[in-house]
């Protein structure tokens, strides 16, 4: 992935360099998750509660000092343009100062949640991730959004919901990624 502003590169693609030449490799999702960050929350929770559980799990795994501040950042982003897709995936995210790589967690919901911003959409899986708040990391951030949205199509989400626990869910994700 390449991300640039006018100052960085000519706005016009360089002759001979097609977008495919500039296109980055797809990000692997499976390695970003672990059994500790794949959750199966209990039914009856709303989206904010699920996000809180996820943030705590990811923060604990990565050793983030202030999970509350991180959650606030995620909820702030959630106030903006919707992160929920027609496929049943919600993709909350935030860009954090002080981290060097991607931190991610997944919540698989046995019972669908209603998206508070788009009540017509049901959420069946929540993929939360954090990327470094650096300009050079934004391409990776976008690539991850595309990659996760592409991977978590409705059939996979259905199968994840039916899986018995984090280990099976992780195996399923890694298998789907190939």
């Amino acid at each position: 992935m390449a991300w640039f502003q006018k100052d960085d590169v000519p706005a016009t693609p360089v002759p001979g360099a097609t977008p495919s030449a500039a296109a980055p490799k797809a990000v692997k999702i499976g390695p970003l998750l672990s059994e500790a960050t794949v959750l199966f929350p209990a039914g009856g929770l709303d989206k904010a509660a699920v996000l809180e559980q996820l943030v705590r799990a990811v923060a604990a795994k990565a050793g983030l000092a202030d999970p509350g501040a991180v959650l606030a950042k995620v909820l702030e982003r959630e106030q903006g343009i919707s992160t929920t897709l027609d496929t049943g995936l919600s993709l909350p995210h935030a860009r954090l100062v002080g981290i060097d790589g991607i931190l991610a967690g997944l919540a698989v919901l046995k019972a669908p949640l209603v998206d508070p911003k788009q009540p017509e959409l049901s959420i069946r899986a929540v993929f939360l991730f954090f990327s470094p708040d650096k300009r050079e990391a934004f391409p990776l951030h976008l690539q991850l959004l595309r990659g996760v949205a592409s991977l978590f199509q409705a059939p996979l989400i259905e199968r994840l919901s039916a899986s018995p626990g984090p280990a099976d869910a992780l195996a399923l994700i890694r298998h789907s990624e190939g």
């Binding site: 992935m1 991300w3 343009i81 959004l145």
Partner: protein, 645 residues
Amino acid sequence: MLSFISFWRASAIVLCDLASTAYYIGGIVETAVGKSAPWFILAVMMFSYTIRAVYMESCSMFVRGGVYKVVKEAMGGTLAKLSASALMFDYVLTGPISAVSAGQYLAGLLNALFPHFRIGWHLDPGWFSVVFAIAATLYFWHENIKGIHESSDKALKIMQLTTVMAVVMMAWCGLTLWLHPARLPPLTLNFSPEALGWATKFGWLKPVGAVGVVMAFGHSLLAMSGEESLAQVYREIEAPKMKNLERTGLVIFVYSMLLTSLVSFFAVMIIPDSVRLSQYGDNLLSGLAMSVVGPHWARLLLQVFVVGVGVVILAGASNTSIVGANGVLNRLAEDGILVDWFRGLHKKYGTTHRLINLIVGLQIATILLCRGDVYMLGEAYAFGVIWSFVFKTLAVMVLRFKDRRPREFLVPLNIEAGGVEWPIGLALIFLALLATAAMNLITKKVATVSGSIFTAIFFGMFLYSEHWNERRHANAHSSEEKFNLREENDLAQIRGEFKKERRVLAAVRDPNNLLHLNKALDELNSDTTELVAFTSRIRTGLGLVDEAVTMDAEEQRLFTKVLEVAEKHGKTVTPMLVVSNDPFYAIVQAAQAVGASEVVFGVSTKLSAEDQLERLAMTWGSLQTDNPPVRLRIVGAGVEHAADL
């Protein structure tokens, strides 16, 4: 889809009209002014270079820089309607004079050939040419109903053939003059009584020599009829538009100068006086073919070739006249001068078929009225063209003072004095045109009477139509394009229609914020890349499937602006409208459906560039499980964000 033509095609369209006059101008002018005709034809052809410059300057200000638009901007609607009415007279006569002349040539050839095949027939050239002219006009009516691109193909082929004929003819005439040297035509004027018109009543004009020169110049002026088509084809010319218009102007100048002038000189120098007008007055080039050196069979073959080419180029001039008249009427219709009904698009071809029907109807009526008399048509013909040139040049001159925007092209000879740039060149051209037009009013009775009546009728029609439109639309008047909408239930269906290797989708919404579209057009190589200008109509709730495919006023305005911008660049763009409940889904679905490798957006007033890109990346991924790359660009004033996914 809005598509554009090369300067060769544009030249061919204009030349079909301009160069075809070589076939009849010599006979008409010599009948009027005597053997000095070629000198005046040469003078007119040289003068046409200045008219080319006037058209270039007007086109540099307005993409649709025809006489109506330019005169309206400079001097208001009434004079604009008057000048457009005069121009319509020119277009309505261009078709008939060319097609009838073609019929005359064909009749002459057939009558010459019949004895060789022991056929005892003799065709009446007048009626034969009427039948032929109607057939040719109907053929090109059908071509124009199908669309300009198809018709420009034909024009190009016609001009390629004409070039071969011209080279053969010039070489053969050159050889003839080398073997049998002849003197150049005299410069003395010998007006026919008909050519003097009402001037005989003004005895004081006779001793003034310059008056005779202007009179003869006026009689020869139709040699440059066709220049006005430059403005009509400019809209269709591909980028770089002005450069290509300049090339078109140069091609048509050199070509018509050589063909029309030389042929006229050769005719007077080679065809014996005894038969030139009596036998070949209406088919002078046939006479030239039969008068060059060589055995009879070879000259007969040359005549067959010359007539064959003549028939196609003259018939092709019918095409150009229909294209030109359609362009003028379209402009008037867009401006609310013609009732909306005329702007209805043909269901299959998307052309303004009712306007084309009107033009062709008038042309066929003219053909029937003239009963095959080329001289009569020629006499009437120059009225429209000279007056439209007069109005146009005056308007361009007025605009120099009224609109001081920098132009890509200026008519030369401008002198700065007292802090003002004085358009001396334009003023001289205007004075020459005005003097000629005024003289023609006196000398060309047929032109003055028929031209005035026709112009008055058209002017009245425009006035009434405009008034009717104003009453009907009250304050809702607009100058928007008509679009030929085609409904597709599945976006994937359209992918196969894009044949170029690369596709770019530009998402448009606000007609006042098309900076990103301009940028995309700047960079666009129309030969290799399709550009889709996309907008979505956002609807929530049920019932989307049944939504009728008609554009609302806002979409109409948006796409009108999109076409204006594309025309300015001279590059092809395909407008697309999708009904959706989410703009991001709509954009991504459309981009993926057409196989876009690049999607260009304007800067949003509601979302940050990061939010826009994040949402697009998510939506792109959710709708596409494979991984073809795409570049997303957000282009604003002085800023550009891009991301390769």
